[in-house]
Subunit: 275 residues, 2 copies
């Protein structure tokens, strides 16, 4: 028998910044009754160019803050933090479940394109750790994986220049640099939570047969499954609550975050915390 | 009579990352006998999108580290930190001198284009604080100033895409957005230490009559003047030493920093410190 009070605890969602709001949005669509507590570590973003040791320390501090607030499940909605620190965060949260975004993304790509060629667009840290490569190869030994660091896409998404000529040229350059006579992608994995905002121009550059894999919806499905199978779904007729924490810059969080969430945010909606 | 031992202390140069190496390079050219100690706060870069409170805290911690190491003068080689925290850092370093990059840049623009129209390309934080506007208007009441936040230029410089079609289009878009029937720049101030790397394409887009103002060389001249007038120049026949401290990612510091310094750096040259 599940504990109603514990089931009312929010799902904690953590990212280095606002990119993880694409994951929050997908969880909201999948599980509208769940209470959601989002933490963006905006004082120290981006994680993607930092060292694994720093990323691990930041992720542990963010998780500790969410534990203190009280959550029933943690979603690491940042590819870089998932790549670096998932196992450590699972120990920290034990026995509560922790779900990263790398494994669901890899699983979605492999099941849609078995034996396929996968191009992973990600941050420098995620690429250096080979996180997607390892996840894909452990699921499908016939798969081919190429990973490409695309730092400018992060800035492009944050600036809101998500279509038009400049976005197209930057994306084309990254994809061209990663491709070649020996590699042509069947799937492109959006290996950073900023990149779903650039789906439009990425799909235009890739041919129609190329599948774009966005971890957000797959991750949301895994969250739903995990809560269901452990009897931890919230039982209520009413929509769940939404709370947003950030470590810096409520105004910028609201402005840029609104683009990721797909709905306006006010700086008054953002609570500042110190990690 | 100056104290030889104290004059041998290095000039401390602090930036959020590697951009300030353009300032170090200019100081090296101006004052080749001085010992230089550079600190890049790479664990928390970029400063340009953070809140003033966080930027001030980070800058104070970086300065304390340099004080502990022992320096005779501090150069705040980061426009954002100069804009936010210069007065506080002057108190912290007192009675030793502190030189920021905003005031020298403003002075150079105003003396070359008296009564002119100045376009400042900078980070979001620098623009929001109106640092260049205030500095220019206090020097020349007839001047017109427009400030434009250009976050993508930071990523562009770090990625090393400093010429070609993509750089040109991004710069043109920012300059077009800032210009109009009511404003045409006589000078463009490179108000972020990353931007001197983009001088080439910026000058191509601006007409030849537009002056590009790079704070690095002006700041170096002010450093030289300050040391000379206070009898604090190092007296030696030998070239000064160079030391590099960073708060994260020696490998990335060496790779990206080499582009800014204009000479190769090895990760072994970078000492990691914890602030």
């Amino acid at each position: 028998m599940s504990d109603t009070k514990e089931n009312d605890l929010p799902i904690g969602i953590f990212d280095s910044g606002v990119g993880g709001l694409t994951v929050l949005k997908a969880i909201r669509a999948e599980l509208p009754r769940e209470n959601l507590l989002y933490l963006g570590d905006t004082a120290r973003l981006p994680y993607g160019t930092k060292s694994p040791a720093s990323i691990a320390r930041y992720a542990a501090q963010a998780t500790a803050e969410l534990q203190e607030q009280g959550i029933k499940l943690l979603v690491v909605a940042c590819n870089t933090a998932s790549a670096v620190a998932l196992n450590a965060l699972r120990e920290q949260m034990s026995p509560l479940p922790v779900i990263g975004v790398v494994e669901p993304g890899a699983r979605a790509a492999v099941s849609a394109r078995p034996g396929g060629s996968h191009l992973v667009l990600a941050t420098e840290a995620t690429v250096q750790l080979g996180a997607y490569r390892k996840a894909i190869e452990s699921l499908d030994s016939a798969a081919t994986v190429r990973e490409k660091a695309c730092e400018l896409l992060v800035a492009l998404a944050e600036e809101g220049w998500t279509d038009g000529d400049i976005a197209t040229r930057i994306i084309r350059r990254y994809i061209d640099e990663a491709s070649g006579d020996d590699f042509r992608a069947d799937s492109i994995i959006l290996g950073c939570t900023h990149f779903p905002l650039l789906k439009g121009p990425i799909q235009v550059i890739a041919s129609d047969e190329v599948l774009l894999v966005d971890s957000a919806s797959t991750t949301a499905a895994v969250v739903g499954e995990t809560l269901r199978s452990s009897g931890r779904l919230r039982e209520s007729d009413r929509a769940g609550s939404l709370r947003f924490l950030a470590t810096d810059g409520a105004t910028r969080f609201a402005r840029v975050g609104g683009q990721f969430l797909g709905q306006p945010l006010s700086y008054k909606d953002i609570e500042l915390v110190d990690l």
